[in-house]
Symmetry: none
Subunit: 144 residues, 2 copies
DNA sequence: CCTTGAACCTCTAGTTACTAGAGGATGTAG
DNA sequence: CTACATCCTCTAGTAACTAGAGGTTCAAGG
């Protein structure tokens, strides 16, 4: 019922991206018409919508693949991923706010056209704003 | 004073990534010792810390390059850059806040722990939860 | 019915921001 | 002075697209 272009328009996912998702097996291979063009239905649309939303929330494709698999056979816990993402987003919000305030201050200060003191680096470089010990996340891999 | 490995350990940025940042000109070329190995100081460390935090906030390297330039020459006329970055950061904050709320709702609805009653897929697939009109963002580019 | 142009097809290559590995030189601890 | 960790350069691989070439199919107007 839906051409790839229509599907793209309805979901906001670009045409080449849809084909890419098919290629990597995130979307099932759709049927084709006489001329070999892809035809989609509402199921594909829902699935693609889900993928788009999840991507916007910062889920990597592998997590999405996992969630889709889970929804296909729902017997496992799956909110752990969402919780992890929630913590991550919260973490980002804190630091983005700090940078925002510093930029705001700079803009307010430099109406004359120059910036006297720029503390952008300090604001983000400051270890006090590190939420957690990054050693735990970015661990132990020195070189190779 | 600092070997690349020490710098890596202190900042949480992997050794090959540090070399990569140098290669693309985000970090200045450091001095070398007799044997040709890189030696760093605390300035490099601050700069690298800044880069790491900004990257974690999702800034592309080109924006970071601009922010670094801003802090390098605070006497230049650069409020235009600061203002543009401010707008960018503001936009990010708005979006991130929206995503945060959506995730929060997801997690709240998903305390059961199993997909049977977990609505992650539905919540994300639901069109009613679109943050904004995606047509405006993901616009008009059908194919090429 | 025929043309024309938009939308489709496959395939390859480019992008960003890394990451991994080969193959070899250097630095340091016992 | 010998191991062996860490360093060096270089090339190639990864994720998640994006762009382009070169060609086919569909649908609207004449």
């Amino acid at each position: 019922m839906l051409s790839i272009g229509k599907l793209s328009g309805l979901t906001g996912v670009k045409v080449p991206t849809i084909r890419y998702y098919e290629q990597i097996g995130l979307l099932p291979k759709p049927e084709r018409n006489e001329g070999g063009q892809r035809i989609y239905n509402n199921t594909s649309r829902e699935r693609l919508n889900f993928i788009r939303h999840a991507r916007e929330l910062g889920f990597p494709l592998e997590d999405i693949r996992e969630l889709l698999a889970l929804s296909d056979s729902p017997d496992q816990s799956c909110d752990a991923i969402a919780k992890r993402q929630l913590a991550e987003v919260e973490h980002r919000l804190v630091r983005l706010n700090a940078l925002y305030k510093e930029l705001e201050r700079m803009v307010a200060q430099c109406t004359c056209g120059t910036v006297q003191t720029c503390r952008v680096i300090q604001v983000l470089g400051d270890h006090g704003l590190c939420v957690a010990d990054h050693q735990k996340i970015m661990s132990h891999d020195i070189d190779q």
